[in-house]
């Protein structure tokens, strides 16, 4: 396998990791705020807090890791995406900053006010929306190049149905992923009331999530026929993802093995995400930048891959320790120890 393929596969994996952990995080923040608004927070706030506290910082690192990695492996992305994303990415940054800081302020600084909770919860929903703009732009058709200057066509961007489909997909999948995960977590904590409530949320959000996902494929047919054709060639991967989705919903519906349900959900998104990425190949930004053109020199690629392997040898045991102490620790999950 060539270096650039290794690079993009690994980065895609980290982006996937970010999407899962961030979805849980954003969704949990939203459900928490929503429960405060509807006076149900006594049911789920403990569960949410106990999960989020030890991992909130780690979630953020996944994102940093991805954008540092993509600039490292594909420096030209800095030029193309950096120039056009100034406004949307700055807005995401501000939202991320508000969210991250206020989580710490309220949790450790005891800044107790419902307004902060709302700010925290609802800003979380805007972040996936603003970040998903990148996926839309990568499909091409929103950037104009003239006199050596790139500019984002905001009017075209905001009037395109593709943009809004991707935004809605990101919102619904955040809530769906998060609800399924928290159902499992609450069930492990033997918290019946929370499990019941979160299971309801999971079932409510399953339907819009799958409808918007299918909708995007249809949108692409007119927006980017090349990409659409490549997606059709990979129909079996999307079909597999669909089967995993149905099984997840069935398990949650029948209140059976939530742990397995969450693994299947991860599988569903994993397959769909890689199928999407594979069909996007060879473009990083259609039609300006391909993976081959944007790739860094050989010396750097080799150094990055070595650093990456060495880093993983350090990170994986540490992550495992974190999960073992908190997520997979029965006493911690049940709230018997702090």
């Amino acid at each position: 396998m060539s270096y650039e393929i290794i690079g993009i596969v690994v980065l895609w994996l980290f982006l996937f990791g970010y999407i899962i952990v961030a979805s849980i995080d954003f969704g949990a923040g939203f459900f928490h705020s929503y429960s405060v608004l509807t006076n149900k927070h006594h049911i789920i706030s403990n569960i949410v807090q106990r999960y989020l506290s030890p991992v909130w910082e780690v979630t953020n690192v996944f994102l940093v890791f991805f954008f540092v990695g993509i600039v490292g492996f594909f420096p030209s992305t800095a030029y193309y995406y950096g120039t056009v994303l100034l406004v949307p990415a700055s807005l995401s940054l501000i939202l991320l900053a508000i969210r991250g800081a206020y989580y710490a302020f309220t949790t450790y600084g005891k800044l107790r006010s419902n307004w902060w909770t709302y700010l925290y919860g609802f800003s979380g929903l805007l972040i996936p929306a603003s970040l998903s703009i990148v996926l839309t732009i990568s499909e091409g058709g929103f950037i104009e190049e003239s006199n050596n200057q790139l500019s984002l066509q905001y009017k075209t961007l905001f009037s395109s149905p593709l943009t809004w489909s991707i935004v809605i997909l990101s919102l619904t999948s955040v809530l769906y992923i998060s609800a399924v995960f928290l159902t499992w977590y609450a069930n492990k904590a033997k918290d019946r009331a929370a499990t019941a409530l979160l299971r309801k949320y999971a079932l409510i959000w399953a339907c819009p999530a799958i409808i918007t996902a299918t909708g995007i494929i249809v949108e692409l047919r007119t927006h980017n026929p090349v990409h659409f054709q490549r997606m059709l060639d990979l129909w079996w991967m999307f079909a597999l993802s669909g089967i995993l989705f149905i099984t997840t919903v069935y398990l949650v519906w029948r209140k059976k093995s939530y742990g397995l349900a969450f693994s299947l959900l991860t599988g569903q998104f994993f397959v769909a995400f890689y199928a999407y990425g594979l069909s996007h190949y060879p473009y990083l930004l259609y039609p300006y930048l391909t993976i081959e053109e944007g790739f860094t020199n050989e010396g750097m690629a080799l150094a990055l891959i070595i650093a990456f392997i060495a880093g993983l040898c350090l990170l994986l045991p540490s992550l495992w320790l974190l999960l073992r102490l908190f997520l997979f620790n029965k006493d911690y999950v049940e709230g018997k120890i702090k």
Partner: protein, 445 residues
């Protein structure tokens, strides 16, 4: 918007973000080391006060970490948003340390989470202390790696330039550039130093506000000892930095010392004001000192600004920044020395109100010195982003909305700055150490 304006606003926004981030980042590098040291002392001396000190520092530390993390994410992304041409070019050579920095940060983030939530889980405090080791190491290594990137911008190497593109790239050579050793050492040691003085300022402030607890005195002695050691180290490394500049970046040294003519036996200009562009008033000339500073030899020749084209030298106001940095460093060092000696000789002046206020002032002052030092280092590199290769005006984004983004980020940092100060003050005001010691005794621990 004209592209000139885009460059101006990009510079302003980068400066704003970095200046804000550096406050939290410096504390983020230095404080874990101090917490580790304190907890180790507490275990060694079997003294619960030190353990409590570590615990209370940690609680405040989280708040600063949170702001450090979010502003660090901001600058990481802003580099690509505001300087796309620079990142596209330099990314080919310098991606390795950038990438390793995120690894170090990742490592730190994981163990910080574990450390925070296991205070009461392990019977053996030593086990818990070990969890802090990766936090302190991760924090210091992210500083080391990111400073390597900055050092590369001052002394680019490890590549060949052909038709505007880098070929034959050697990432390791780029990392270990000539500017790296002094820069990294100075950044890490001043971070330890500044954090120590900030924590000392808190202790002195509590003593001034009427708390006479032995706990604060222990904290004060420990932090000032650390502060003294690292202020001496920073001064020595600072001297090496001067020698580095004389050798590799003479235009920066000449601009910061107002050294206009190349000459032997060069004298050092202390303080002073520059009027009409070239007349120096109110200055103090120390004969031979600049030659000693630059080459360790009073007769050595020091290159002056006359050797450079006018559009390749940095602005002369960096002289003031240099003075601010050095004077504050000296003041902090002397205050720490007086306290430690006074304490050893059992003199009462160390509990004098005026002297305590002086200690309190070292906290904000050392932070100011960090800012001044970074402005000096960064403005001193102008007009280059990559010295000798890429000029600043050719590296900035061509986007039209930088001014608007600048306003947004000013708003964000104002809110974050105020909120973090309010939260930190409330945290410690509502739960003074006396109360916490009482609570602990009541719980039978």
């Amino acid at each position: 918007m004209e592209s000139e304006q885009a460059v101006f606003y990009s510079r302003l926004l980068t400066e704003l973000t970095l200046s804000f981030h550096i406050i939290y980042a410096t504390i983020g590098v230095g404080v874990p080391f101090l917490i580790f040291l304190t907890q180790w002392l507490g275990i060694k001396k079997q003294d619960d006060h030190y353990i409590l000190l570590a615990r209370r520092w940690t609680r405040g530390f989280i708040i600063t970490v949170a702001v450090g993390v979010v502003t660090g994410t901001a600058i990481g992304l802003q580099l690509n948003l505001l300087w796309p041409t620079f990142m596209e070019l330099a990314g080919n050579v310098i991606a390795l340390p950038l990438f390793m920095e995120t690894f170090a940060f990742f490592f730190e983030a994981i163990f910080l989470g574990i450390y925070l939530y296991t205070w009461d889980r392990f019977r053996d405090q030593r086990k818990h202390m070990l969890l802090l080791l990766p936090v302190a190491i991760g924090a210091s290594f992210s500083a080391i790696f990111i400073t390597m990137v900055n050092a590369f911008m001052n002394a680019p190497q490890g590549f060949e330039l052909m038709n505007g593109e880098f070929i034959n790239v050697e990432p390791i050579v780029a990392m270990f550039n000539p500017a790296m050793p002094t820069k990294v050492a100075h950044v890490v040691s001043t971070a330890y130093m500044t954090s120590a003085f900030v924590l000392a300022a808190i202790g002195a402030f509590r003593l001034l506000k009427g708390s006479n607890h032995i706990y604060h005195k222990k904290a004060l002695l420990l932090t000032l000892k650390v502060g003294l050691v690292f202020s001496i180290a920073s001064a020595i490394i600072g001297d090496f930095s001067g020698k580095y500049l004389a050798e590799y970046q003479p235009e920066k040294l000449a601009a910061m010392e107002w050294h206009f003519e190349t000459e032997e036996q060069a004298s050092l200009t202390l303080f002073g004001f520059l009027t009409n562009g070239d007349e120096i008033t109110f200055s103090l000339e120390v004969p031979y000192a600049l030659s000693i500073l630059a080459h360790g030899n009073p007769n050595a020749e020091v290159i002056g600004l006359d050797q450079f084209a006018e559009d390749e030298t940095p602005p002369l106001y960096i002289h003031y920044l240099f003075n601010i940095m050095v004077i504050i460093g000296m003041i902090a060092m002397i205050i720490a020395l007086f306290y430690i000696v006074g304490n050893a000789l059992n003199r009462s002046f160390i509990m004098n109100r005026v002297f305590l206020w002086l200690i309190v002032s070292t906290g904000p002052l050392t932070i100011l010195a960090i800012e001044a030092g970074w402005w000096l280092a960064e403005v001193g590199r102008q007009p280059w982003v990559l010295r000798g290769i890429l000029r600043t005006e050719n590296a900035a984004t061509t986007s039209n909305h930088v001014d608007l983004m600048l306003l947004l980020f000013i708003g964000l940092y104002t809110v974050l700055g105020l909120a973090s100060v309010i939260v930190l003050t409330r945290m410690f005001k509502n739960n003074p150490v006396e109360q916490e010691i009482l609570d602990q005794q009541r719980n039978g621990r």
